[in-house]
Symmetry: D3
Subunit: 330 residues, 6 copies
Amino acid sequence: MKILAFGEVLLRLTVPEQLLLEQSDVVRMSTVGTGVNLLGSLAHFGYPTAIMTKLPANHLGLKVAADLRRLGISDEFVGYTGGHLGSFFVELGHGSRPERVTYQDRLASSFCQADVSDYDLEAALVGVDYVHICGIALSLTDQTRSVVTRLSELAHAKGITVCFDFNYRMSLNAGNTHATMKARYQQVLQQADVVFGSRRDLTDLLDYPDLPDAELFAQFTNDFNISYFAGSRRTFEAHDKYFQGFIMHDGELYQSKPRELKILDRIGSGDAFASGIITGLIEQWTFDKTLEFAVANSVLTQETLNDTPIFDKADIFRYLDSDGKNELIR
Amino acid sequence: MKILAFGEVLLRLTVPEQLLLEQSDVVRMSTVGTGVNLLGSLAHFGYPTAIMTKLPANHLGLKVAADLRRLGISDEFVGYTGGHLGSFFVELGHGSRPERVTYQDRLASSFCQADVSDYDLEAALVGVDYVHICGIALSLTDQTRSVVTRLSELAHAKGITVCFDFNYRMSLNAGNTHATMKARYQQVLQQADVVFGSRRDLTDLLDYPDLPDAELFAQFTNDFNISYFAGSRRTFEAHDKYFQGFIMHDGELYQSKPRELKILDRIGSGDAFASGIITGLIEQWTFDKTLEFAVANSVLTQETLNDTPIFDKADIFRYLDSDGKNELIR
Amino acid sequence: MKILAFGEVLLRLTVPEQLLLEQSDVVRMSTVGTGVNLLGSLAHFGYPTAIMTKLPANHLGLKVAADLRRLGISDEFVGYTGGHLGSFFVELGHGSRPERVTYQDRLASSFCQADVSDYDLEAALVGVDYVHICGIALSLTDQTRSVVTRLSELAHAKGITVCFDFNYRMSLNAGNTHATMKARYQQVLQQADVVFGSRRDLTDLLDYPDLPDAELFAQFTNDFNISYFAGSRRTFEAHDKYFQGFIMHDGELYQSKPRELKILDRIGSGDAFASGIITGLIEQWTFDKTLEFAVANSVLTQETLNDTPIFDKADIFRYLDSDGKNELIR
Amino acid sequence: MKILAFGEVLLRLTVPEQLLLEQSDVVRMSTVGTGVNLLGSLAHFGYPTAIMTKLPANHLGLKVAADLRRLGISDEFVGYTGGHLGSFFVELGHGSRPERVTYQDRLASSFCQADVSDYDLEAALVGVDYVHICGIALSLTDQTRSVVTRLSELAHAKGITVCFDFNYRMSLNAGNTHATMKARYQQVLQQADVVFGSRRDLTDLLDYPDLPDAELFAQFTNDFNISYFAGSRRTFEAHDKYFQGFIMHDGELYQSKPRELKILDRIGSGDAFASGIITGLIEQWTFDKTLEFAVANSVLTQETLNDTPIFDKADIFRYLDSDGKNELIR
Amino acid sequence: MKILAFGEVLLRLTVPEQLLLEQSDVVRMSTVGTGVNLLGSLAHFGYPTAIMTKLPANHLGLKVAADLRRLGISDEFVGYTGGHLGSFFVELGHGSRPERVTYQDRLASSFCQADVSDYDLEAALVGVDYVHICGIALSLTDQTRSVVTRLSELAHAKGITVCFDFNYRMSLNAGNTHATMKARYQQVLQQADVVFGSRRDLTDLLDYPDLPDAELFAQFTNDFNISYFAGSRRTFEAHDKYFQGFIMHDGELYQSKPRELKILDRIGSGDAFASGIITGLIEQWTFDKTLEFAVANSVLTQETLNDTPIFDKADIFRYLDSDGKNELIR
Amino acid sequence: MKILAFGEVLLRLTVPEQLLLEQSDVVRMSTVGTGVNLLGSLAHFGYPTAIMTKLPANHLGLKVAADLRRLGISDEFVGYTGGHLGSFFVELGHGSRPERVTYQDRLASSFCQADVSDYDLEAALVGVDYVHICGIALSLTDQTRSVVTRLSELAHAKGITVCFDFNYRMSLNAGNTHATMKARYQQVLQQADVVFGSRRDLTDLLDYPDLPDAELFAQFTNDFNISYFAGSRRTFEAHDKYFQGFIMHDGELYQSKPRELKILDRIGSGDAFASGIITGLIEQWTFDKTLEFAVANSVLTQETLNDTPIFDKADIFRYLDSDGKNELIR
């Protein structure tokens, strides 16, 4: 069992404690990204993982590769080219003060400038069971799109399970029309077996009608011949927050119970959920167990600093067994 | 539009994370004070500001002046004399454990030892629309009182709006009788147009009777011919805290709705509120909008480390638009 | 009035902020242990204290002794021998993510390898009013057990009040049968005047029947001729946590009211409670006042980083006077 | 007396202590750049300064502007546009292990994307006595070159002293021919009054013959009608390093004596030297005094962390008076 | 080309900046050990490496494995068992104040308690070209000795190059006679092809006579049929330190020239040298080039914090090309 | 053997790494002062010590007392009164950039405001063999002078050895005439047995003629009937620094050999030397051994961060045995 992800690696620069950027001269670095978060989590669940990406050909690139290995991700298919790495600053929130992300340019990055000819897709897919593709690559550059297109087709043709995460963000698409983006997503969805997204992705990006969830998701999975469509959301009740997930398979909609959430750092919540779902599919758990597991992974990740989930299965089951009651672990 | 404040600059030494002073060998420095907090906030709202004060004539004074500029406050009217700066230690609270402030001596400070002849008031008032005076100067030294008296009279005579903040603290007045302090406040209030304070300032310091707020504030503003009297307070409901503000103008009492509050560091809450009120007056907003804005500035500041509010108008309006719901900002 | 404790000193290595061990290359050191926590707290309440223990004969041992003195504990009866100190890592929890403790080996430590002949018990007991013994020493090595046996007998014989804390942990007794451990505890309890423990210690370790608290504790204190049996527990109500204590004396069961608890770091909660109870006994307060004081000390300690309570009596009374309402202290 | 600089502001990310990038998860941020370093130093010498530049229109841009003000540089002519700021990582050296700089992309930055029409040159030049232009802008983008050309012409026409620093770096000019770069430099040098550079700039970039310094510099200043040409260099003697400066004026070459150098962080050494030279010109000191002052500023800066010199005149004169002997200053 | 090392992994706890243990409450963690240092360096030179060892079966073990991967070392042959990891504290030196190491117990560690039956030697040796064994394992426990004996025999039998590092330390052998240790070393040396050690190892441990180096080393390599014997040493000249290496092969003694050394942290200097020598053997460089490379790797490592060399070949060649002159690298 | 010191306790605030105050928002706190430094060192040499002083009656005072105990100094004679503690900032030097100290006001401190009636001198002197008085107290306030006068007389009368350290600083005596200060010193010197000072103290403050050291010191010790007069100084040779000490006894001048010095933080060098001299007197070592020991203690202290020497005798003898060669200590 091996999982390969194609995606951008980013340098996250987090202001320490709960200071604002303007209040601090220090930042803590971590190596993140949708693919990194997903694979780091799956590696901690015990599965071999590798990322296919490009890093700068300098000491920053080497540092970041060291971080990938630290997370348990193989850097065998990491190439070194160019000299720029995308990065973003994070200021943690507190109470009603929101967590804040400020991006630096990523379009000039080694990743965004590398096209399909810069990768050896055949080599990277040897022995792979699941391929994960982050939809953000559809918004970045022609080069990243060229990789997504070829990689999804090739993996699909080889019978590898293709996972695709919408991850659609308006802010990254100032220069693209709605029609363009819709077409790009529709093309990739043809090859996808497992899709992560939300109701809004279907209605706003793909122009589906405003149906109840069960109907909407059934229609979507049917249209694109998708085996599993899964997603999560935060809800509010009084002053408390809750987290909940769903999975649609074969016309049936499964939902987890909501879990209470004390957010420390919410970035990466979707990646943690996705890694839990993929784990359930690999292990052929029931959908209820799979959803419980995925929600637990995401809740714990949101109650931890940094994007990348680093919980192992025992951590998750202990959370579920104690019903989320935080007891000291010795 | 330009705002000048006269007030003491203090060095705040905060124990990091949530450690107690006895547990740590490290402190984080910041440059604060009522005038600093107010002007730093107003500068972040886009208004030119300057502080009139004295700092030590050494490298500590220069460091502190650099911090003032960093906050957006002009150091044009900062003088360098003497060799001492007031300072205080802060230990953050948690749950029922209170935040704790320990002051070092401030009476020997450059600020407390400088009297009216050490300042060029005429120069400092050129082009100024609002002057802000912190009432603490009435408790400190004869020297600081001499400046308050002359500055308030001069500004009033020039038609500059005089803002005055009670900021009355028993602990600073061990050596003064009630009668003395009352007389000093009454004198300055004659020149004031905008006053910040609380019900207790009126009943306990100025000996007003125990009337309902509306009546009490009306009588007070009438007695001293004050245009605006504004203040804020924390309230409790079940285990939750709320924050609320009022403004009295022309016999009418306006109140904001209470906002939920998860305190991280409460120092500076009044200064944040005052800066919001002054902004509303400058912008000639309705009292409701002004109060909403001032309360939001104070809530966000109490949910942030350090005294000085550094939110811009967009931050405040985003808080108000999302109704205080903390959503990730990208 | 002087208190002597016999117990192991441990080096606590806490991951900073709220990071996990795998996310950080830095740890904060502190010197802790049941005896250390208890004595540190009693020293802050104004009583002379000393610890009888062994530390490594190297610069680590010297550093730890410096920390003991810093806490106000005399190191007069600290011996230096061997080269190992027990240690443990702490990762703080958040929301439903639990606080996590990872122990390193302690059996090879200077403390665990020293037996009764390595201590001068007579010298250590001179002028002592209370001796405190932590039950963990019964689980560690033959050497530590030899000290407990002799020390408790000797102190009892001299009319010194013997305090004993069950502190029973399954995880430390993989190699001992239930019968063995039960016998060891029963032996020491013969000499004990003040005992700290829980309902579960009586039913699970000492095989008492499942009676209501009042009956159970009465039977236990009667069987072993124990003057005071005291303990505490955490309770849940909706999403909130509470903390509550009891004391059984002369057949009467006293209970405190529950206090709300926002846990920051729960380690040491029992030691904080015990130090409060001993203070009440020393001061001959009523049981209600004693329980209030002990619960307050424990709540404040759990709302503070690190194990060792460092609050003085004024801190505790301020908490009680304000009814746990966290108001800024200037 | 007022100095305006046009140049790029960069975020420097320094690995703490003497760790390598791969060994640390923390970096310290500082706001630097040739213009920033020069102006920060001149501001500390007591002269009003302002920078004309562009920063990202987000919270990172605001943080950087706060840093500029902290250094004493006016941000009146700072514009906010785009969303990227150039940055670089610094790993300090030790012994024979060199200090190492790793750049991130800067061509996508707000500064590199803004052209002459985005600036109000007339407004920025009001009241200005010296304009400083960093030659790196000639290597960056068409946009930055458009500003250099117009700004140097306009300032020259207004009789403002134009300072120009070669700062020529091969590594930034992979895409430009020698001829192109030579022509660009020749064009700007026509307007320059004070030029900072080295022998190698003249021989390698401008194709001057390999003459002795005095002849070479005389010919160069004559060809371009340059009033002052100044530069510095490091020399080695046994295991010790020395630092030395020169200035050519009116056909005469002046040289400082070499000063011993224990480098801590060498970045910014040229900017510190240039700021000293400009100070001497402003103050109309002798060339010997000017050179001594400039060399001292540079030596102290290289013996301090970070690029930007923050010494005041008293610091420099104390160094010169004690002949570089490091005695404790109380 | 693949290198496998058998050796203990240790947690290094370094006091930050140049503080002493008693002055600090913070330590920086790193994962080190002779095998770790050697493999980390070889991985940075581009060779696949793996360590065969045991780590605690808890979150500390997982953290340490993450660190191994970060260094580029495969954790495929890392087993998890027991609950203790050896550790040591490091206080950096300065001037004549020496660097200081304080060990905690390692004999109870997962590594020291695992014997040959706990490893799958056959699996670990698949595809391996070089095996490295650290002599410290001969001093630790019967279990670690059982692994050394079997591993060296098996590797030797398979024709894998066996590298052996004396690493003999009196302090670890308080309980063993000279004769016992000598016999253990003699036994392993029978299987060794590449040996790292010093003159003193031969004369003091193996009882060789006090001959000149060339004769002594020739006799030793002849006696045990060793292909390469290499080592390094620090020398003093005036106030400066130098570092120098040698290699004996086929009766010929090669020596490097001495390189100046400004020690920052000397731990790991021998491992850095050994990794350079093995690189030269792999690459079949001349002995002069090999020695230059090995000495450079060691000098740079001693001028860097932490034990493990993380320089790549380009770093080493740049040092050699610049003849150790520290010029800024951009 | 017990040593009591009377002196001011100061809070030292050190900027971390080698940053300047203006570059950092963090400072590291330590508790220092001439008495603290001397006693901390003597405690590390194994002698019981106590300080007689006053600290603020607040949590800062308690923190500082904890630090005193950490250093091994008894806080039995520490009183709590007032609310201010003297403090100073330290910026470390590098190369020719000097270390820099910036004092805050100390005259308002608890120590400076307490007079002889606030101390129980009789109690503090019980069992004391050596009393140490720092001359700075003669420059501070009438209150501190009143304590010095009475304490020195009382100790002298009781036959306790009185140690007195000139510690004369012009900067503290702006308001006192030369004649006043000379008289104050002359008065105390009458009671002194062991005096620490320099040639300059005798010629500049006491108006002794410019004689050779041996004659000068003989005359001085004779005039005041002083048993031992000792001091130290830094010398320069080429680019290297050396440290050397002397002691005058019974008309004989003894000098140590100079030791090389790589200064990291020079504050406290005199206190370290004095503690070494007192140790030699206590141990009745030869003057040569005493001087070697005292110089070693001072050199090691100057090569360590912070004022207070924390070396034990073994550390000093290891330095002397290795002749100051820095070899790794395991």
